[in-house]
């Protein structure tokens, strides 16, 4: 069983730990948190950066836990920090996810349970595909995205980097969603927006983001 060191403690930690346990692919040797108030969590040793033992980086790979907060940028920053520490960063796919044969998953990609990824698909590093999401053939998803539960990324669609899709968003065939787009309620996009979109129930009109 391969050894895995987890960095971070967001609300996604319980979900990830559960899926790793079920997969029986990894032995989690520790969880690195900002402040360790107990010695263990889920029976796994807790460390801070100060108390982290010198694991053999040839033997132990890393995975960074995070959520979609701050448009995925906290997860990205943690990912970059761990990369600089010299750990090999793995991807993780739930044993109940259905992904196309031969699909190569990049660093820190997480495919949650019951998600389906058809071939060919291209998923950027540090992108998380959550429970029950479907990625159709020829879809491209940039790095550091969050594809929420039950989302559908239709055939040939392109999701720019750093996008956040809440639960149940449907991106239509061939639609190109610009980088940084953020959609926080279930909706269907059938046309490519010219600029990044920020859709949130708190706003009564579209939010436009311009960066030229």
């Amino acid at each position: 069983m391969k050894k895995l060191l987890i960095f971070g403690e967001s609300t996604s930690l319980a979900r990830l730990n559960h899926e790793i346990e079920r997969s029986a692919l990894y032995d989690i040797v520790g969880i690195v948190v900002a402040k360790a108030t107990t010695a263990t969590r889920y029976g796994i040793p807790l460390y801070t950066l100060e108390t982290l033992p010198a694991f053999d980086k040839q033997e132990v790979s890393a995975f960074i836990v995070g959520d979609e907060q701050h448009l995925n940028q906290q997860r990205l920053a943690a990912y970059m920090d761990v990369k600089r520490m010299g750990y090999a960063i793995t991807s993780f796919c739930s044993s109940s996810a259905s992904i196309a044969n031969g699909l190569k998953l990049r660093e820190n990609v997480f495919i949650d349970r019951d998600a389906r990824v058809l071939a060919p698909a291209n998923i950027g590093a540090n992108t998380w595909i959550m429970q029950g999401a479907q990625i159709d053939a020829d879809a491209k998803i940039g790095s550091s995205c969050w594809i929420g539960a039950q989302c559908v990324i239709s055939a040939g669609a392109t999701i720019g980097k750093n996008c956040t899709l809440g639960q149940g968003v449907v991106i239509g065939p061939g639609v190109v969603l610009p980088a940084w787009s953020t959609i926080h309620y279930p909706t269907t996009l059938t046309e490519s927006p010219p600029n990044a979109v920020f859709l949130d129930a708190r706003f009564r009109a579209p939010v436009y983001f311009f960066q030229k």
Binding site: H70, N195, F198, A205, P206, V207, Y208, F209, F210, Q211
Partner: protein
């Protein structure tokens, strides 16, 4: 204190028509910022004083036109923001950078205009003035010089500060069922912040509202010193609470207002904030009806001085913070508006509200009514 405005100023169609005519069709109105229109053929549409207006960049020059085609009065530009020439989608009538009709149909017989007949067909053009990054439009046939509206000191500060505005920004609108004046009064009312926003404002903003001098030390009797147009625009400054600098603030230019929350209340309907010398928040209260206002909200930072890839996060969270607080304002103002419609009593003002009374005095002066109850 004796109020200058009564509830009917906020609810009556006659007063709304009067203020559209005497204020919004006469004064310079903020219609956008230059980062919205950076490239050739970039446009922005909006409704000002009930008139559909398009701001259009032609070769770097921003002009304003009526967004109504002269043929069948269809809409020329359909989106709120976009990039295309002045071509009406209905029958493809084309207009040039001066708003003059240049093309109707490839077959001249379809319209069969006589020679020279189309030379005088042009879109109504409105004067534009750019101060820093702020684009002002005047809808009047005989616009007053903008110097009569904003004094030299205000203009100079706006030029200096907004001239440092970054090209990236985040923008949205919000339609609320309240009169535009209550929106402006609300931003001049410092006391409501520690009351209405006691649980949200301190979480999102590092501004010490208690230090705002407008809350304290005013006379108990209101004496309007000068209700002139230039004096209707006011500036304020509140110290930021001491706190560690946010990480992104080292990545952008710092204005000389660092450490301060600087406000410009541009008469009639703009609240422009320069926050800690590193970001701008602009709110415009655009009147749609006596009881309906369209707020335009925009957040931008000062120009970057270093690589700043996570700028969208900062802008988005800034806008979310604004929206969280504004949501409380809007709910309050919409309830207030419903009460105004059924009220038979007047407002009761206190000493700290002289800023609001100054706004009322200027409003009455611009509408040509020195007597507050003249049309009641």
């Amino acid at each position: 204190m004796r109020p200058l405005l009564s509830p009917h100023h906020y609810t009556s169609q006659a007063w709304f028509d009067t203020e559209l005519k005497t204020i919004f069709n006469r004064l310079w109105l903020l219609a956008g910022v230059t980062p919205m229109l950076q490239k050739h053929l970039d446009y922005r549409t909006l409704t000002l004083a009930g008139k559909p207006v398009v701001l259009q960049n032609h070769g770097g020059v921003i002009r304003a036109f009526s967004n109504i085609c002269r043929h069948r009065m269809a809409r020329i530009q359909s989106e709120e923001f976009g990039n295309r020439g002045l071509v009406c989608p209905y029958h493809h009538w084309c207009y040039n950078q001066d708003g003059q009709l240049t093309h109707t149909h490839k077959d001249p017989k379809v319209f069969n205009f006589a020679e020279g007949e189309t030379e005088d067909i042009r879109l109504t053009q409105y004067p534009v003035k750019v101060i820093g990054s702020l684009i002002f439009v005047n809808l009047s046939d005989a616009p007053l010089p903008i110097e009569e509206q904003f004094d030299a000191h205000t203009t100079s500060l706006l030029e200096t500060y907004t001239g440092q505005m970054d090209s990236a920004f985040i923008y949205t609108r919000y339609e609320g069922d309240f009169n535009w004046k209550t929106g402006m009064e609300n931003i001049k009312d410092s006391l409501h912040v520690p009351c209405l926003h006691k649980s949200t404002f301190p979480k999102h903003f590092r501004v010490d509202i208690a230090s705002d001098p407008s809350i304290h030390g005013k006379d108990a009797v209101y004496d309007s010193q000068n209700a002139g147009l230039q004096q209707a625009t006011t500036m304020g400054m509140i110290a930021m609470q001491s706190a560690p600098e946010l990480d992104w603030q080292t990545l952008v230019a710092q204005l000389d207002s660092k450490g301060r929350y600087q406000t410009f209340h541009l008469f009639p309907n703009v609240n422009l904030m320069v926050v800690d010398g590193t970001s701008f928040a602009i709110q415009t209260y655009n009147p749609l009806a006596a009881d309906k206002t369209e707020m335009h909200m925009m957040v931008a930072l000062t120009r970057p001085v270093a690589d700043f890839p996570h700028k969208p996060v900062v802008l988005w969270e800034h806008l979310l913070s604004d929206m969280t607080v504004l949501q409380e304002d809007i709910e309050c103002l919409e309830a207030l508006q419903r009460n105004l419609a059924s009220s038979d009593s007047d407002f009761i003002h206190g000493a700290y509200e002289t800023g609001i009374l100054d706004f009322h005095a200027a409003y009455l002066a611009q509408t040509g009514s020195s007597e507050p109850d003249a049309t009641r």
